[in-house]
Point group: C2
Chain length 397, copies 2
């Protein structure tokens, strides 16, 4: 049999993170690579209890359900979203298999081959993979520690007439940065004026450090919404409850959501009824905000530990800042260092990270690396940073 | 905001089944429409126990997992597949969110716009929707009660040079028919000779009636396999355990599976860890074959009840046969009757079915209907058939 794969196959190069994840599963490598939450903090007892409540609902709980998602879950989530300034009804919400699927479905219904999608520089690599698989052309927009560069955004909108802008404004992957409100409002204005749809990816927004009363309003909340919004917002339970329940959601104009639901029907009919109902029971009977507060403090402590270790190891020429939330450090090394090469010696030393090169839509920088600080415990982080320093010392010779 | 959806949007017309399902949820309509298993037979106690075992595995059970699927589940499934003459390793298997996702992923990696996909006449409507969404042109091949018409298949392969053939050879949706082994071998030979990939969809194969020792070997089992097979096989737990666990799988050549896994990574990273692990524990500790034997007998009884009712009501000019397995009756009415029109009066009478028109790739027949016999209990089936007869009498006047 001579297999004749489609032309789009080339776009599905396996993501470096996932391949590394595969290599490092269950062996002696300390990984700062994956965006993994700390599994020891998963609320397993509460999930078990929630599952028990689902089973009490009877057999119907395990039947086929609506493509749009389990209605009581959507209703609970609407209340939760209202608390964050996003006033939506269940018709403005689609439940998905993680927020990754939101990226896929929105691209599927909105993008034609050749369309330009503006993205941050750098940005989430698996979003780039999705965009390219539908024939879109991702083009990067510059940014700094306050968020996207509005002049560059304006220029790129004028030049490329993009259909979409994909952003992670709150504790970005990979840089950990958070946009100022001014940048959020500025981007919104430019996109409204040019009919550019914003896909606002917010997996990390709940993981904020420091003063917990500090608010970072979503771009969706700042826009007229839900109907007529130029933003589709997505978030997930993967970082606040557990990734294994694979449940995310999209918010947006009801017509945009309806089109995404049709595409989802073709893609997989619906996401797991069991996961959705378990999460609904969890939202109704568990202090999720208290749990998030706990996780947030744990992650902040881990972030500070890693920051202290980076300072102690004093890598020559390293440029980085303490993230205000999220899961990642972004470390730029001297331009002579190719972090893809560094990864090879790092893995020999028994430590992994993600080389910066994978996060660029165009003109990649080769001297940065992304370090996850949420997954390893204190001893693992100490040992991993030690190994990483050795690998770095070897290439700096 | 002026939304600018993609050109492929037109292909995502919402499936009639799902729309009817939506209308009939929780109200007084008796539905023969959806392909729903009988929820009262879901093995809920065993699922609860399996979930308990997963929770005992510790928090890691809820972490991100491999895109390819939970390895122990793939290993258990390999053993199960070997018992059906399909000798595969975990590298030949991808775990998905139901077998619907297999159709989507294989189409994504294999089909370019304009490619022809041959399908049965009639065939599963949500497969047609997926194919069209990727720009494929589905072309139907004639068949009879022994399966696909080999002469027509040969002619259509010669004429259209298709990239793929999509079939449900065992208890087809919508017709309930089962292919003879001769037709299976004949189709395989024609496809091998022309490098046509066969997507063999087998959601119903376990639901066989009559002598349970009777075997219907899959086309995949009849082919050289796994490597170099011209078949990708897919099945699901949706009909044997419960649809709400949303778990299906694909079997095929390792390279084809690898490409599908890459596409899945972009689509949703992975399917629910919780569902996969629960199913793995179920396979290890529950008598699934005993359960299937029980369900099979229940469904056969329901099928016979509906057959008796069709005979009793004696619809003028109705042509149908008793299915040897699966979930559906396919009833052809006199050509003067448009079943899409009939559905309207049926819904007024309080009963629903799926009009045949939705199941055709081309030149649709308008006088058939698909009736599901697995979901309703005996009283519901009696009442529903009564209502359907009234609706039919009204249009026959």
């Amino acid at each position: 049999m001579n297999y004749r794969f489609s032309a789009r196959l080339g776009s599905f190069s396996s993501s470096a993170v996932r391949e590394i994840l595969k290599l490092t599963q269950g062996d002696s490598i300390i990984s700062f690579a994956g965006g993994l939450p700390a599994e020891e903090h998963f609320p397993v007892a509460a999930i078990s209890e929630a599952f028990g409540r689902v089973m009490q609902l009877g057999n119907k709980a395990l039947q086929y359900g609506l493509t749009e998602g389990y209605l009581p879950l959507r209703e609970s989530l609407c209340k939760r979203m209202a608390g964050k300034g996003m006033n939506v009804t269940p018709d403005n919400m689609l439940i998905t298999t993680g927020s990754q699927q939101v990226i896929d479905l929105l691209t599927r219904v909105y993008i034609d081959p050749g369309d330009v999608i503006l993205v941050e520089r750098p940005t989430y690599l698996s979003a780039l993979q999705v965009f390219r698989s539908y024939g879109a052309v991702p083009v990067s927009v510059n940014g700094d520690s306050d968020g996207i560069d509005l002049d560059d955004l304006k220029a790129k909108i004028a030049k490329h007439k993009p259909k979409m802008l994909y952003v992670i404004p709150t504790f970005s992957n990979p840089t950990g940065r958070v946009w100022s409100e001014e940048r959020r409002r500025g981007a919104l204005e430019l996109c409204h004026a040019s009919d550019t749809l914003i896909l606002e990816d917010d997996p990390y927004g709940e993981l904020k450090f420091g003063d917990s009363s500090r608010k970072y309003p979503s771009i969706f909340a700042l826009d007229q919404h839900p109907e007529g919004s130029c933003v589709v917002y997505t978030s997930t339970f993967s970082k606040t409850v557990a990734p294994g329940l694979r449940t995310g959601w999209a918010l947006g104009d009801a017509e945009v959501i309806r089109q995404m639901a049709r595409a989802k029907q073709a893609a997989d009919l619906q996401s797991s009824s069991l996961d959705q109902q378990t999460l609904h029971q969890l939202l109704e009977h568990f202090d999720l905000d208290g749990h998030i507060e706990f996780v947030r403090k744990e992650y902040e402590a881990r972030m500070r530990q890693m920051a202290d270790l980076i300072r102690q190891h004093d890598w020559p020429g390293a440029v980085w800042e303490e993230p205000k939330g999220g899961m990642f450090f972004w470390v730029e090394l001297p331009e002579t260092i190719d972090t893809a090469e560094l990864l090879k010696s790092a893995v020999e030393q028994g430590v992994a990270f993600v080389p910066g090169i994978t996060f660029y839509a165009d003109n990649p920088q080769t001297n940065a690396m992304r370090l996850n600080f949420t997954h390893n415990d204190a001893a693992g982080t100490v040992a991993g940073m030690e190994r990483l320093s050795k690998a770095l010392a070897a290439v700096l010779v």
